[in-house]
Amino acid sequence: MIDPTPMRMRDKIVLRVVSKLLIPFILLFGLYVQFHGDFGPGGGFQAGVIFAAGFILYGLIFGLDEVETVVPHRFVEIGSALGVLIYGGVGVVNMMLGANFLDYSVLAHDPAHGRHYGILAIEAGVGLTVFATMMLIFYAFADRGRRPGGAA
């Protein structure tokens, strides 16, 4: 006889073990893409998406409540705005140091190094915004979907 209650996703031991193995690698690879974007393909946008994908996998296997304790709603809401602020802030810092908006050459003694630092900083901002926004959208859709009145 078929069990009418669907098994919880986290009770499936194979899925649970494999995703626990996989999630650290996804996050590590996200960081690699974030900080290696100036040498290989990738950058902040892709890194943010991959990072979010790791947490979404966690949410799919262990439930939305679990992932909401790891990445709280508040962090996601603040983070998505903070990333844009970091990006714009780097530009304003440049203006304060006497250069044009988003001209990073004044961030270090050597202009080339300054530009490199500037690019890393704004990529971090992009990554944060993309990661937080992806999580935000996932939370919004998944949370709405589980409510009784959600499927209108």
Binding site: M7, R8, S19, I26, P41, Q46, L60, G63, G145
Partner: protein, 92 residues
């Protein structure tokens, strides 16, 4: 020799696509999609060698990591009807 491998992979892609279109059940389609993902990883790996720039394997790694998430999401949706549920439910 890369071309031969590529031809085989593309033929497999076509057959997986045919299965995805035929169905008949939703699980057949998920199966075909998963298989298509593996073939995509292989196409990217082989094409990197074909064009002489094998350092693009990052792309194949992304697919290896992320394709699994798509399959799990589809499975979860087919089973529970939403993505948030972890099956905790009173009275069932």
């Amino acid at each position: 020799m890369f071309a031969a491998a590529m031809a085989g992979i593309l033929a497999t892609m076509l057959m997986a696509l045919a299965r995805a279109s035929k169905g008949p059940t939703v699980f057949d389609r998920i199966l075909a999609m998963n298989m298509f993902g593996t073939q995509t990883v292989l196409v990217i790996a082989v094409s990197g060698f074909m064009s002489g720039r094998p350092e693009w394997l990052d792309l194949a790694i992304v697919y290896g990591l992320v394709n699994f998430i798509g399959t799990i999401a589809v499975l979860k949706f087919a089973k529970f009807g939403n993505l948030a549920d972890d099956g905790r439910r009173a009275g069932s």
